[in-house]
Amino acid sequence: MIPAPFQYIRADTVDGLLGALTEHGDDAKILAGGMSLIPLMKFRLAVPTVVVDAGRLSELRYVRDGGDHIAVGALTRHRDLETNELLGAECGVLRAVAAEVGDNQVRHRGTIGGSVAHGDSASDLPAVLLALDANFVIRGPGGERVVNAANFFTGYFETVIAPDEVLTEIRVPKSGPRGFSYQKFNRRAQDWAIVGSVAVRAGGTTRVGLVNMGATPLRARGVEAALAEGASATDAAGAAAEGTEPSADINATAEYRGHLARVLTRRALEAMV
């Protein structure tokens, strides 16, 4: 399979990338690691006429201590995350889940920003960043804006990023060592999660994120509320599918996805240390 023809532009700076987006608008797609976009282009599900390659913008590949948060450059690769010591100390869940994405080859190329901007609710990292209450830095022709994860994902493969904007940084609030567990269910090791559930303890509260339980990554608010009222892991996890509208596909019915959400959330709550 071969993508449809397109014009290839290699961005050397973020400003250059923004200039290309302004010039080509909706016709252009940003290429980061390409682990989602290139398969879509091969299947001709995405047919951009201009591809702006951001892959060499090393200025967006970093993990830094930002004071009250950890700042992760959008082009930081999954492999960078899974081997990063600062993340290990301050945000172990992000490091651990990055190691669950795809396979070695995918993690060598795929980026955190690409995964987030792609907006696939079946991806591992978006639900984790939602549970971590992360903030996303978006740059456009008018300057920079910061959007909280709760307001970032708007629908199937849709986010608040406009066609002339680019995601540049992910900010994860610091809270020192904390308990977490990510439970991912799939048939083959390298596959997307049929359903995933991540539990993160922050301060005295526990937050739960769900993978592939609807159009966007979700917080399991019912579970969080039950835990806050002192419910056991088993009882709280019973609310995991409340308010969700998971899709049905070859891997699972919507009803089965609800079952998986409850089971995986219970396991995540029990395994969280």
């Binding site: 397109f6 290839y8 390409g34 290139i38 398969p39 390659d53 070695n104 190329r109």
Partner: protein
């Protein structure tokens, strides 16, 4: 567009369409057909090569993205008549049957062993999760990688 890269130590340069995938560039422009296309959907790993030392699936990378990079394919493993340790191990441990996945399997293994020179059986299995084999049941592939790891550490 004009691109160039070093493949197995040899400098290549070609005028290609922007949509050319790295695996097509290696097979058709560089005439290095050791790298195979299996699923063509980034699942099976038969097309695995090393790009600047890291394993990638060359069916899911544009040749343009590899412009200027150093690529290693299965043809670049042996040193003249002397096989690479991973090739010897696959031969001695019977790590293949039909052989279609083998080039990608060995390249994924070489990339993995560079990152983890002394892996456990389980770590080898996780390290090769991006490569599918439909003949062997993986037992002998894992044995091959562990044997190669022993040899490479002793070298």
């Amino acid at each position: 567009m004009q691109i160039g890269m070093t493949v197995n130590g040899v400098v290549h340069g070609h005028d290609v369409e922007a949509r050319t995938l790295l695996v097509a560039y290696l097979r058709e422009s560089c005439a290095l057909t050791g790298t195979k296309v299996g699923c063509d959907t980034s699942s099976c790993g038969a097309c695995t090569v090393l790009v600047d030392g890291e394993s990638v699936k060359s069916c899911t990378m544009l040749a343009a993205q590899a412009d200027g990079a150093a690529i290693t394919t299965v043809e670049g493993l042996a040193d003249g008549p002397n096989w690479h340790a991973i090739q010897t191990a696959f031969h001695e441990q019977h790590g293949l049957q039909c052989g279609y996945c083998t080039a990608g399997m060995m390249m994924a293994a070489v990339g993995f062993l560079a990152e983890n020179p002394d892996p456990t059986d389980r770590e080898v299995r996780l390290g090769l999760e991006g490569n599918l084999c439909r003949c062997t049941g993986y037992q002998n592939i894992v044995a091959s990688v562990l044997a190669a790891a022993d040899t490479m550490r002793a070298q």
